[in-house]
Every structure is written in structure tokens, then in C-alpha cells.
């Protein structure tokens, strides 16, 4: 048994332990933190499987932003779950066991883990790995697949994120004058001198790192999704430490909403430009006389669109969540 197998086994056992702990724990704050740990463990597992791009996304979204959004939500809803009258754990257990058994039964038909002969390795993957450098001309094959070969799918993902932002806005926007509630965890942060100073040191670095991830996605792990989340987290940090009203002065709400739509539009309009040049939708080789150069331009543009939309939608969601019950920003 080699070292990699041991590490995989340890990581997967820790995943199971964390999942059981999430189910069993009653404190929802702890459950949210454990969900973050679950995300981090999955990210480590993805690194072990050499899927660094996915690991990066999982670490920034699964362990970072979603934990934060869950905690913000919990600040609204309360720390412990209310057990309602129709609480039937037995039925749920039977259902879960049944589903699990079916899933395990399903795996019996699957090829063995890591076999080279698996269908997924024989369909389009060899083409991507062998030809993508010649066709797209960027070293990171994952970005080639995500942004160019599967550009339409990624467009769909961006639209999903945009729709989520619109949904949150539609549901929570009317709460401009929220009723005063008890203090949230962020409220007590206002006097924290050390935190504020360190945050001031870190925020420029976080923004810089976001830009690096955004524009380095063609050469290493990264891209618009991760960059957007990292960029948005700098704004979250600022608004948590300096208050929501201070943060609203930095990020104009109207501008953010327009930018969220502009990101999707930028992505889509790259596709339209390809169409008008007589190529397929999102075929970037139409963007320049040189096909490979066109691919470069297209990927840069659509990644920028992804980054803008993800950043702004995350900011919209966070502000909508924390604006809902936070008055203490005005107390500042």
C-alpha cells in the first residue's frame, strides 16, 4: 500500500466522520463550521486526485464563502433548530439507507477506480489532453475545456449564479427597513482594533490575489469563479469589520447590480460576436485572424465576465443577508 492510498483513506475516513458529526450536532453554528471543514477535506482529496482546479473551487466556495453565508443566515434564524411536531427520524433514516444502498448498487456497474479503460477516459478526454494545446494554446487544459470546449456549459453556470443573485434580491430586497434584532456576531467586532488593522493590511493583498487568480487561470489553477469568490471575500471582510453602512459607501448597490448583469452580458456577447463572424456560438477562433490568438482573447473575455458576475452576485447575496437584520452598521 503506497503513501497516496494511505492519505486518501485518511481523508475519506475524516470526511465520513465529519458528515456524521454534522448530522449529530445540535448547535447549528458548529454544524456550519463542520460543513466548512468538510469542504476543506474534499478539497484536499481533490488535490490528491490531481484535480487542483476543482480543489481550488471547493476550497474557496465550499470551505470559504458558503460557510460564511451559512453563518450570516444563522445570525438571522437563530442558533438551534426547532424540532417541529412531525419529526420522524426513522422514516428519514429508512429513506437515506435505501438511497445509499441504491447508490452503492449503482457503483457495482462502474469501472474500477482509476482504470485507464473507463469510458470517461476514452470519450473526449484524450482529444482534450492531446490537442488542446495546439487548438487553444494555453497550458492549463482544464481552463481550455471549461472556457472553450465547454464554453456553453460554463455560460449556463454563470447564468445560474446570476439567477441566484436575482432570486436573493427579489426575496430579501424589500427589507430595507428591517426590525431591530438582537446583536449579531458581527456587531461586537466594531471595537476590534487589531482585527481592523490586520484586515486593512490584508484586503489589498486579497484583492491582488483575486486578480492574480483571475488572469492566471490560463497557466495554473484558477479562473473567474475562484477569483470572483476571493475578490468578494475582501469586501465581506471589510463590511464585517467596519460595518455594513461603511461597506455600502465603498460598493454602490446599483453599480453592483448593473455589473452582475454586465458580466453575463459580456460572456454572451462574446458568443454573439463569434456568431456574427460566421462561426458557432462561443467559438472564439472567430475573434481574431489567428485562431489560437482568438481563443486567447475569448477565454480572457469570458473569464472576466465570469469573475465580474461571481464577485457581484456574492456581494449582493452577502449584503442582502446581512442587511436584513443588521442595524448596527448605522450605529457606527
Amino acid at each position: 500500500m503506497n503513501m497516496e492510498t494511505v492519505i486518501n483513506m485518511v481523508l475519506l475516513s475524516l470526511l465520513v466522520v465529519t458528515a456524521i458529526a454534522i448530522v449529530r450536532i445540535k448547535d447549528l453554528f458548529a454544524a456550519a463550521m463542520l460543513a466548512g471543514i468538510y469542504g476543506l477535506l474534499s478539497a484536499s482529496f481533490f488535490v490528491m486526485m490531481d484535480a487542483v482546479d476543482v480543489a481550488f473551487t471547493e476550497a474557496s466556495v465550499g470551505a470559504g464563502i458558503s460557510t460564511l453565508l451559512m453563518l450570516t443566515t444563522l445570525a438571522m434564524t437563530g442558533r438551534f433548530e426547532k424540532i417541529s411536531g412531525n419529526y420522524r427520524p426513522r422514516l428519514a433514516l429508512v429513506l437515506v439507507a435505501l438511497t445509499g444502498a441504491l447508490l452503492i448498487y449503482g457503483t457495482l456497474d462502474m469501472p474500477a477506480f482509476g482504470t485507464a479503460a473507463a469510458p470517461v477516459h476514452e470519450h473526449v478526454a484524450p482529444r482534450y489532453l492531446n490537442d488542446s494545446y495546439a487548438e487553444i494554446g494555453i497550458p492549463n487544459a482544464v481552463t481550455s475545456v471549461l472556457a472553450s470546449y465547454r464554453g456553453f456549459d460554463t455560460f449556463g453556470e454563470v447564468v445560474v449564479i446570476f439567477t441566484a443573485g436575482i432570486g436573493v434580491l427579489a426575496l430579501l430586497m424589500r427589507a430595507e427597513k428591517p426590525t431591530p434584532r438582537t446583536q449579531t456576531p458581527t456587531a461586537s467586532m466594531h471595537e476590534h482594533m487589531v482585527l481592523r488593522i490586520v484586515a486593512k493590511m490584508l484586503i489589498p493583498l486579497i484583492l491582488l490575489f483575486g486578480l492574480y487568480v483571475q488572469f492566471h487561470g490560463e497557466y495554473g489553477p484558477g479562473g473567474g469563479f475562484q477569483a470572483g469568490v476571493i475578490f468578494a471575500s475582501a469586501f465581506f471582510l471589510y463590511s464585517m469589520l467596519f460595518g455594513l453602512s461603511e461597506a455600502r459607501k465603498v460598493v454602490n448597490h446599483v453599480v453592483v447590480q448593473i455589473l452582475a448583469a454586465l458580466g453575463v452580458l459580456l460572456y454572451g456577447s462574446v458568443g454573439i460576436v463569434s456568431l456574427m463572424n460566421g462561426k458557432n456560438f462561443l467559438d472564439y477562433s472567430a475573434l481574431s485572424a489567428d485562431a489560437v490568438h482568438g481563443q486567447h482573447l475569448g477565454i480572457l473575455a469570458i473569464e472576466l465576465g465570469v469573475g465580474i458576475t461571481v464577485t457581484t452576485v456574492m456581494i449582493i447575496i452577502f449584503f442582502a443577508f446581512s442587511g436584513r437584520n443588521q442595524i448596527e452598521g448605522e450605529k457606527d
Binding site: 487589531v194 482585527l195 490586520v198 490584508l202
Partner: protein, 116 residues
Amino acid sequence: MTILTTYISWTFLVLGGFLCISGAVGLLRFPDFFTRMHAASVTDTLATALIILGLLLQTDAWMVQVKLVMVLVFVLLTSPTASHALAKAALHGGLKPQLKIARGSNKAGQQSEAEA
């Protein structure tokens, strides 16, 4: 890489690993929140810093070294701040450090007093 740098590097790595384990033991064995947090923050800062220093000596690629130094700076900035925020939040929430040893002679009691 010479023999000397290998030795120094592994000294750092083993020390860092030891501090990780001792931090975990402290986290489980120490009597109250603040002492446990102290153990965890040692793992966060010193152990991580030592491991990164050890890794720095393992590579000759300067690009990797620059990135490791950046990670080191980031960790040294954020980990103590996180511990500080945690301790302050606990104090703010009304949790007092435990000043007396409840029962048995636990070595951690001294740290609890020092923290107070």
C-alpha cells in the same frame, strides 16, 4: 542540495510535525477554553511556520520559494489574529479563564494562570 540543508530542513519539518501533534494533544487535554485555544494557536502559527521553513529549504525553484514565503507571511498575519479574535469573542461572551485547577495536578493549570 547539500547534506547540511537537508538536515536543517528535516529538523524544521520534524519540529513542526511535533508541534502539530502536541498542539492536538493540548487541544484535547487542557482544562479550559483559553488554554485549549493557546494550544491550537501554537499549531496554527509556530508549527505551520516551521513546516513552511522546512519546505523552503527543500526546493531550489525560486518561484516556489517566493510563493512559500507569501504563504508564511499570510499565515503569520492571520493565525494570531484569528486566535486573538477568538479569545476576545470568548471574553466578550462572558467566558472567564479558569484560574484554579479543578482536580488532579494538571500541568496546564499553570498556563491558565499565566493567561489570566
